[in-house]
Point group: C2
Chain length 459, copies 2
C-alpha cells in the first residue's frame, strides 16, 4: 500500500511548505499514484499539493481522483480558480466535474467560461449517465475526406487531436458525416499527396450518442477497439470514446451488476456511497428483503406441511442445514462452470445435450459420494438417538443419505441447465446465478427431504 | 443472434459451392462476426469457408475462434496445410494454437517451420499459462535509442511492427535493454533528425515475463495503457502485450474468479469444459461440497442443542427458513454495496467508522421494518396453532420478530465490515462475498433465533 506509506511523508512536507522537495517527491510518480496518495490527505492539503505540481500535471492527477473528492477539493476554490482548474481538464473530465458539483457552483463555473466552451459543456452534460454520449470526449482530430495524408500529419505536428494520445484521424464528408478513419500508421505509410478518402477504413464502427453504454462495452470487446467514434442520429461525428474512459465506465457497470445480482434495486450510478441518504439506502434494499422473507415463509409453509413427520423424527431437523448447504453449493458450482464455459465459448447452443449428459454423470458421482458419507455419519453418531416405533436408525440413515444424493443431483443439473436456457433465450447467463439457485435449492430441498423420508420411513 | 440466423444461409451456399456468393456474403462482415457464424457450422464446413476467404482474411477470423474449435478444424488439415495456416497467424495466436494442438500434431508443425520460427515459438510456448510472458506477441517495432525520428518513420513505412496496428516504437540500449518508448504521434511531431532517446518517454512501464498476469491487468487499468512491453529479468525487451490480448486473458481470469468464488478448486485454465473428464469434474467440486456439508452438520448440531426448545415449539421451526433467507440476503446486500464503493474508491480506509455508523442506521430501519412485518404475520396466521403452557401467541410473535430484527442487523453490519477489513489487509474485498456470508448468517442465525426465543419464552 504505497499510498498509505507515502501520504504522511507528503503531509509533513506540505506543513513545512517545502515546495521544491514536494516537487522532487512527486516528479518520480505516475499521476495515478499521486492521486492515490492525495486521497489519504485532507482535501485542503490535497489542493495545496496540486497547486505545487503545476497546472498541466495537476490536471492529470485531478482526473484520477474520485468525483466526491474532486468536489471536496473544489470547495476550497473560488469561482475563478475553479474555472481555471476546469479549463485545464480534458473536455470529458471537465463535464464529469461539472456534473458532480452542486448546482450553484456549476452555474458559476459555466458563467465564467466563454460562450463556445460553455455551450460545448452544456451539450455534453445533456447526455445522461448510461448513454454512450456521456462517455465521450470532444478532443479528437477530424479532417475533410479530401485532405491529403501530408496535411493530416501536418495538423498532428501542430498539436491537433488530444495531446500525445492521438491514435487515428477521422474523415468527414458533407455536414460533418463520419465517413472513415485512418490510423496514424496508415497515414505514415501513405504517399503524402494521397487523399484521406483513399487511405481511410471506409466503414469505421461508430455508436449513436443516445445508445446504452453497454453497447459501447460490447463493441470494444468484440472488435478489439482502441477508441470508438460517437455520432448523432444523422451520422455526424460528435465525439470519441477512448479506451481509458471505456474502462472507467466498465468498472462502474460491472459493480452495478454485482449489486443487482445481490438483490439491490434503485439507482446504481449517480450517488457515491457516503452521499446517499439512509432513506435511499433503506428503500433500495427493503423490497428484495421482503421478497426473500416471503420466499422463506413459503419454505416454512412447506416445512409445516411435513410437521407431523418432523414432530415424530426431530432427528430429521438436525440434518436440514446440511441438505440446504450442499444443495445450494452444488447448484452454484455447476452454474459457475457452465456460465464460464458459455462466456469463453467452450460450449455452443448445439452442445446442450452433451452438457446435460456430462453434468448428469458428475452429479451421480457427487451425489453417491456425499450420500455414502452422510449414511456413515448418521450410523456413527446418531445411534443413541431415540426413535419412535418400528423404525431403525438404519432406516433414518438411508432416508437422509438418499435425500442428500437426490438433492445434490437435482441441484447440479438445475445449476447447469438454467444458464444454458438463459443464454439460449439471449439473456445474460450470469444472472441465473447464486441467490436464485440457493432459493430454488431450498424449496426443492424440503420436498425432496421429506418426500424421501416419508417414502423410506413408510409414513 | 445474427450468427444463428446466418449460419444456415452460409451452410447452403457452401453445399452448393457458390464461392463468389460466399465471398460477397462474408466481405461485408467483421472477422469477429464471421467467426461467430462459422462456430454454428461443422468444423469441416468452417474450414471450407476459411479457404474461400483467403489466407490473410482467414487468419483474422481463425484467431477469433475458440481453441477447441481451432483444433477441430486443424484435424482436417495435413501437416503442410496446418503449417501454412499457422504461419499466417500472428506470433501469439500461433503459439496459442500450438499449445492447444495434440502433441504429435504440434511437433509435426514445429518440424515444418524453419529453425528461427520454430525456436521463437518454442521460446514463447515455454511461458506457462498465467504468466505475463504467455500473453505477449513478438510483433513489435524496436529501434536503437540512437535512431532518428525519421528513420523510425521510415521503418514503419516499410511495414515494421505489426501490420496496421502499431502504436509506438521501443527504444533499445545495449544488449537489447528497454530504455524507452515513443508514441507515433510523438514521432510525427519530432524533428526528423532528432534521436529516439530525446523523443522517448524514458521510464516506460514494463513487466517481467514470469510475473503473474494479474499484474498485467492491474497495470493496464491503473495506468490506462494501450500496450505493455514484456522484459526478461535483466530488462531486455522480449515482447509486447497488446490491449486486445489483455482483454481476452482478462475474460478467462474473471470467469476463473467466479468459479473460485463458487467453491470450485483445481485448474481453471487449461482444459475447455467439453474436454475435461468426469473424474476431473468430480475432483474439483467434491472437496468444497464436503466442507459445506460439514458446516451444515455444525449448524445442525447447534440446532440439536436447542432440541428441547424446538420440540416444545415446533412453530419456531417453520420460521427458520425466513430467518436464514433474510439474514443471508441482507448481509450480501450490504457487502455488495460496500465492495462496490471500495472498488470505485467512494470509500477510503479512513471512512471505516462513517460506514459502520451509516450501515448501523440502515440496518436498524431494515430490522425494525421486517420485525414488524413478521410480528403481524405471526399474529394473523398462526393464532390457531397449539402452544403449550402459559405462553401466548403474542410471546411467540415477539420472539420471532425480535430474532429477525437482530439477525438482519447483525448480518447487515457483518456484510459491511468484512469487505472493509479484507481491503484494509490488502485482500480482494470481493472474496468476502456471498457464500461466506450466507454460511456465517446461517450459524449466527440459529444462535440468535433460539437465544432470543429462550429469553422471551423464559425457557
Amino acid at each position: 500500500m504505497l499510498d498509505q506509506i507515502l501520504a504522511p511523508d507528503l503531509e509533513s512536507l506540505l506543513e513545512e511548505k517545502k515546495e521544491d522537495d514536494i516537487r522532487a517527491f512527486l516528479r518520480e510518480l505516475h499521476p495515478a499514484d499521486i492521486a492515490d496518495i492525495l486521497m489519504g490527505l485532507e482535501p485542503r492539503a490535497a489542493l495545496d499539493a496540486l497547486k505545487i505540481i503545476g497546472q498541466e500535471g495537476a490536471a492529470k492527477v485531478f482526473r484520477k481522483l474520485p468525483e466526491p473528492f474532486q468536489v471536496d477539493i473544489a470547495e476550497f476554490l473560488d469561482a475563478v480558480d475553479l474555472t481555471a482548474l476546469a479549463r485545464s481538464l480534458a473536455p470529458d473530465d471537465r463535464v464529469r466535474l461539472l456534473k458532480a458539483l452542486p448546482v450553484e457552483r456549476s452555474e458559476a463555473l459555466l458563467s465564467l467560461m466563454d460562450k463556445k466552451e460553455g455551450d460545448d459543456m452544456r451539450k455534453m452534460a445533456r447526455f445522461t449517465e448510461g448513454t454512450a454520449g456521456s462517455l465521450m470526449t470532444t478532443e479528437y482530430l477530424a479532417m475533410s475526406r479530401d485532405a491529403t495524408a501530408g496535411s493530416c500529419l501536418g495538423r498532428i505536428r501542430l498539436g491537433g487531436g488530444a495531446a500525445g494520445s492521438i491514435l487515428s484521424v477521422f474523415a468527414l464528408g458533407d455536414e460533418g458525416l463520419l465517413e472513415g478513419s485512418a490510423s496514424l500508421a496508415a497515414l505514415i505509410r501513405a504517399n503524402p499527396d494521397e487523399k484521406l478518402s483513399k487511405i481511410m477504413d471506409p466503414k469505421p464502427l461508430s455508436i449513436a450518442a443516445l445508445n446504452d453504454r453497454k453497447e459501447v462495452f460490447s463493441l470494444f470487446f468484440r472488435y478489439d477497439l482502441l477508441s470508438l467514434p460517437v455520432v448523432d442520429a444523422e451520422g455526424a461525428l460528435l465525439g470519441l470514446i477512448t479506451h481509458d474512459d471505456m474502462v472507467g465506465a466498465l468498472e462502474r457497470e460491472r459493480t452495478a451488476d454485482m449489486e443487482r445480482f445481490m438483490a439491490i434495486s434503485g439507482a446504481h450510478d449517480n450517488t457515491p456511497y457516503l452521499h446517499t441518504t439512509i432513506w435511499q439506502n433503506f428503500r433500495n434494499r427493503i423490497g428484495w428483503l421482503i421478497i426473500f422473507a416471503f420466499i422463506g415463509l413459503l419454505s416454512g409453509t412447506i416445512l409445516q406441511s411435513f410437521g407431523q413427520t418432523l414432530a415424530s423424527f426431530l432427528l430429521l431437523a438436525f440434518y436440514m442445514p446440511m441438505l440446504a448447504n450442499t444443495g445450494g453449493i452444488s447448484g452454484s458450482q455447476s452454474a459457475a462452470i457452465i456460465v464460464r464455459a458459455i462466456i469463453l465459448k467452450e460450449i455452443l447452443p448445439k452442445d446442450v445435450f452433451r452438457v446435460f449428459w456430462k453434468e448428469m454423470k458428475t452429479a451421480l458421482l457427487l451425489g453417491l459420494t456425499l450420500g455414502f458419507l452422510a449414511f456413515a455419519r448418521v450410523m456413527l453418531t446418531s445411534a443413541a438417538f431415540q426413535i419412535p416405533g418400528a423404525i431403525t436408525i438404519m432406516d433414518i440413515g438411508l432416508a437422509i443419505s438418499i435425500a442428500l444424493a437426490v438433492q445434490v443431483i437435482v441441484s447440479t443439473i438445475l445449476g447447469a441447465v438454467l444458464p444454458i436456457m438463459a443464454a439460449y433465450f439471449g439473456a445474460n447467463p450470469a444472472h441465473s446465478g447464486s441467490p436464485a439457485l440457493m432459493t430454488i435449492a431450498d424449496i426443492t430441498g424440503f420436498f425432496i427431504y421429506f418426500g424421501v423420508a416419508r417414502l423410506i420411513l413408510r409414513l
